[in-house]
């Protein structure tokens, strides 16, 4: 087995760091320095970051320490280093989406979620690598090179939020933020053995998140524990006047039932993702899904299978809707106002030259796909039909939730695969998101919880899915799975 540099929560998880910093047992500056030293040691091998914010982080940590010294309340994330996916705007700090097209651009404003983290004393330490514009499942589609899986440096971390997942798995930061459009938090969380949450669509503000597919994108945390994920959720969620699609309600109290157990809860295993209906899910992944179901049953839950039939159409529907929105969202990268500008003899030629030089192959493929899906004469058959499927998937999920409190499925069809393994065939790569995409189409929340390892010894996550704004019960079940794993010898990277 090749090199393993994983060390989740190398200096404690977020809750432990925040409480010790607030109590004056250690300084935020010391915490940041420890993490920066670890980054310094292993970043060349992992390549989790596009931009390291070492100076900014030290200054922010010093400010937190001053606030504590002055007797101020330092916040729920005092001194907690946080890594940020590089598609979230940070004022004055390069924000690239791992694309050459944004070369040299520094946003004049900061994303709402980052403002909220910082307001609670969190310390941004860097901007993490991703598949260009969040399009991909391996973080290999980055203009700045691939990120490696800390558990096996020859393997991918998943994607598109591979840098954020790897940063947490490698102990570069106890927590990070990713974005999930078709599984871009949950799939890398599964592959990197960390907790990854895609909240209900609208639960978390998207203001400052550079859009891939606006109706599907949602920001969420990567953490080493369910409790940390709940804490992060409570900090970043809640209404935002800057985002019209944000739900007009405060963050749900997801920490409230973490210890409540699952006695009497109804858990449904999604039939289509538990065996032969959706092909290509590996046996060891299915085994861990069954083990998770058994663990919940042992803890008092009622477990059964439930069919969510239209989920099998999720992948094709997604590859109409997401590229359609992307083709429109990415039109603004035209060389006129910011980022890369290539020479052209007139404006149109300059637009074309800039996009040709600035966008990678996968981005171009999806822009073309989406433009086609929206074209006159094809829109009804492609985009229109996909929207109908989307409605069906939502209805199917809602029907399932009439009988079940939460649903279970794999988060990823396999453990981490080798770098370069799936880059030749886009369709093979797209299949990585087959279990996660339906939740984006329906808007329901879902999260991946580490639940052991596969035949290759690499992490496997189980996906917990919940109804709209059903995060409280989702976290409750995730906490129960985490607890069941705590005594399981198969746990990887644990204490």
């Amino acid at each position: 087995m090749s090199e393993n540099v994983a060390h989740p929560a190398a200096f404690g998880d977020a809750a432990a760091i925040a409480s010790s910093v607030a109590a004056g047992e250690r300084t935020a500056s010391a915490v940041v320095d420890e993490h920066l030293a670890r980054i310094d040691e292993h970043e060349d091998a992992v390549h989790a970051f596009n931009t390291l914010m070492a100076d900014e982080a030290r200054a922010a940590a010093a400010a937190v320490d001053e606030r504590i010294a002055a007797g101020e309340t330092p916040g729920r994330l005092a001194g907690v280093p946080v890594a940020l996916k590089d598609n979230m705007c940070t004022r004055g700090v390069a924000t690239t989406c791992s694309s050459k097209i944004l070369e040299g651009w520094k946003p004049p404003y900061t994303a709402t979620v980052i403002d909220r983290l910082v307001a609670e004393g969190a310390i941004p330490v860097g901007k993490t690598n991703l598949d260009e514009f969040a399009m991909g499942s391996s973080t290999e589609n980055s203009a700045f090179g691939a990120t490696k899986n800390p558990y096996d440096l020859d393997k991918v971390p998943g994607g598109s939020s591979g840098g954020s997942a790897a940063a947490v798995a490698a102990g570069f930061a106890p927590v990070s933020l990713g974005s999930d459009t078709g599984g871009s938090i949950r799939q890398p969380a599964s592959l990197c053995g960390v907790v990854g949450v895609k909240p209900t669509y609208g639960a978390v503000s998207r203001y400052g998140l550079i859009a891939f597919a606006s109706s599907l994108d949602q920001i969420g945390p990567f953490t080493t524990s369910v409790a940390d994920a709940a804490l992060m959720y409570e900090v970043i969620a809640g209404d935002d006047p800057m985002d019209s699609t944000a739900a007009p309600q405060p963050a749900l109290p997801v920490s409230s039932k973490l210890g409540a157990g699952v006695d009497g809860l109804r858990v449904g295993i999604i039939t289509e993702m538990a065996g032969d209906v959706i092909e290509g899910i590996s046996a060891d992944v299915l085994a861990r899904l069954r083990a998770a179901a058994d663990a919940l049953a042992a803890a008092g839950a009622t477990v059964d299978e439930v069919s969510v039939p239209s989920t099998v159409y999720g992948l094709p529907a997604y590859y109409m809707v997401a590229p359609a929105e992307a083709s429109s969202n990415l039109a603004r990268f035209d060389g006129v106002r910011y980022g890369l500008r290539a020479d052209g003899t007139n404006t149109a030629a300059m637009n074309t030259a800039s996009r040709t030089a600035g966008f990678g192959a996968e981005v171009k493929r999806r822009i073309m796909l989406g433009t086609y899906a929206l074209s006159a004469g094809y829109r009804d058959a492609f985009y229109g039909k996909a929207q109908q499927i989307r409605t069906r998937i939502t209805e199917d999920f809602d029907r399932a939730y009439e009988s079940f409190d939460v649903l279970l499925s794999p988060a990823s069809p396999s453990t981490a695969f080798a770098l370069g393994d799936k880059t030749a065939d886009p369709l093979t790569m797209y299949l990585n998101d087959v279990c996660t995409i339906p939740s984006n189409l329906s808007g329901h929340p879902a999260m991946s919880v580490p639940f052991g390892v596969g035949d290759d010894g690499l992490p496997i996550g189980v996906q917990v899915l919940a109804p709209m704004m059903g995060e409280v019960v989702m976290f409750q079940v995730a906490a129960a799975l985490e607890q069941a794993m705590a005594s399981d010898a198969a746990s990887v990277g644990g204490a």
Partner: protein, 488 residues
């Protein structure tokens, strides 16, 4: 450039042969005069320094999101109701195309679910024009192409001002119901009047806050076919609306007459040359790839909101004309000018205060074109009563009126300060009889058959009386007395 070149009515316009008929539909863009832009908190202001009213959202920066301006929706729905439209829950949509002054490279507009649809408007001449839709959309920035012929294709470089980007617009699309250039002007004029009455826009064509594009085609009179149309842009005044349509229609007729046919294209009106010119040629019909804007939620007005909107709609120009015509005893079309100037309420109040309706209309039309100033309906009524009561001549009335507008003083005070004493008609009779007696030759010529000479003598007698009365006599009364002596 948005400056109007008003050539006035003396310019020769081509006439449309009787056997041809125009088929015209108008797309009118009205900039809503909200305090802030459609999707952000930036000021919606005309004439600021370039690129000073901008933020991440109206610059379309990556990661920015739109938030709908509730005041803009309210204005849109008010105008929709005033245009007799069905107001429905609107859905914003993305209209995808590329232009450097459009920051997101798509325009957030409305497509299959506009806020307002299926309405109508009656022009001052009583012609009903149906309205297909009135939808909300955002404006673009403004490009200035430097070098070449001023178009982007030949420019050396372009300057872009994004202050206007994201300003709320309402696009009002008429059905192709307009049959003459005059009707088109009347439609635009009426629409402008309604917009001004509602106060939703300043609707200044010269500043671009109201912009008119005309879809023009022609057909043999009596036919119901729809022939190839051209879209005419760059029309900068209401009079240009008529000219541009008339010239374009004539161009189509000339083409058909010579065995050719127009091609569907966008053309630009050249005010100086008095002709339309081909715009940027589009080889392919633009495919805007519309889809619902995922960053915004549908705009669903509540019943209470709709009721409040209905209650907020003032008396509109059509109803103002009817009311004024009725009160003043004139034809509705003759009330147009006063209504257009926004003085209908003032006129009605003056009439209600006891003034003669006919004189109110005459003075407002002829002597108050620059506004009523410090005049109040009551002081105006008092003046008119002095005039109709014979206390002031029409010349004196005009003079007193001008001062009232300026100072806000009372008619009686100003008249007395000017020494405008009421002339006793009996006193005037005596003066005229004495004048006739002393000028027998002139009187004979006044009564003679030479009309020209008689007119000259009328001037002589009137002049003498005016001189003797220091201008206080009423010219009309003098003429009446002279004629009664001649005929009697």
């Amino acid at each position: 450039m948005y400056y109007t070149v008003d050539r006035g009515p003396d310019v020769h316009e081509p006439s449309i042969p009787d056997d041809w008929e125009l088929v015209v539909g108008l797309e009118v863009h009205v900039e809503l005069s909200t305090k802030t832009k459609l999707f952000c908190g930036c000021a919606n202001a005309f004439g600021s320094e370039p690129n000073t009213n901008i933020c991440p959202t109206c610059l379309g920066l990556p990661g920015s999101l739109p938030v709908m301006n509730a005041a803009a929706i309210e204005s849109a729905m008010r105008l929709g109701r005033a245009l007799n439209c069905t107001v429905s829950p609107g859905v914003m949509a993305r209209k995808n195309y590329t232009y450097p002054d459009m920051p997101k490279d798509f325009q957030t507009s409305q497509y299959d679910k506009p806020t307002n649809h299926d309405g109508w408007l009656d022009t001052a001449d009583g012609v009903r024009i149906n309205i297909e839709r009135a939808h909300i959309e955002e404006d673009t920035g403004k490009s200035t192409h430097v070098g070449g012929d001023g178009r982007i294709s030949s420019a050396q470089y372009s300057l872009i001002d994004y202050n206007r980007a994201g300003v709320p617009l309402l696009e009002i699309v008429s059905c192709p119901d307009i049959r003459t250039a005059e009707e088109a002007k009347a439609y635009v004029s009426e629409l402008r009047g309604i917009v001004l009455a509602l106060g939703v826009s300043d609707a200044k064509m010269e500043e671009g806050s109201m912009r008119v594009d005309a879809n023009v085609s022609v057909r043999p009179r009596g036919s119901d076919e729809l022939r190839t149309r051209c879209e005419i842009k760059n029309i900068n005044s209401i009079s240009s609306v008529g000219r541009a349509i008339q010239h374009e229609a004539k161009r189509h007729i000339d083409l058909y007459d010579s065995g050719e046919r127009p091609i569907q294209e966008t053309r630009h009106w050249d005010e100086e040359a008095g002709r339309t010119r081909p715009g940027r040629s589009k080889e392919n019909e633009e495919d805007y790839r519309y889809f619902p804007e995922p960053d915004l939620t549908p705009l669903v007005p509540t019943e209470a909101e709709l009721a409040a909107i209905d209650a907020s709609i003032p008396v509109l120009p059509g109803a103002q004309r009817t009311a004024l015509a009725e009160a003043a005893g004139i034809e509705t079309v003759d009330a147009s000018l006063i209504v257009e100037r926004g003085d209908a309420g003032f006129a009605l109040d003056a009439i209600a205060a006891g003034a003669d309706g006919g004189r109110v209309v005459v003075h407002l039309n002829n002597n108050l074109a620059d506004g009523v100033g410090k005049l109040t309906p009551e002081s105006f009524a008092a003046l008119i009563n002095m005039e109709t009561g014979g206390d002031l001549s029409s010349t004196q009335t005009k003079e007193v009126l001008a001062e009232m507008v300026e100072t806000g003083g009372a008619a009686a005070d100003i008249a007395s300060a000017k020494g405008f004493e009421a002339m006793d008609t009996g006193e005037l009779d005596d003066m005229i009889d004495e004048l006739i007696a002393n000028n027998a030759d002139q009187w004979a010529r006044f009564c003679g058959d030479d009309e020209g000479d008689a007119k000259k003598m009328a001037g002589f007698f009137t002049g003498q009386i005016m001189k003797a009365t220091k201008g206080q006599a009423d010219g009309k009364v003098v003429a009446q007395i002279l004629n009664s002596r001649k005929n009697g």
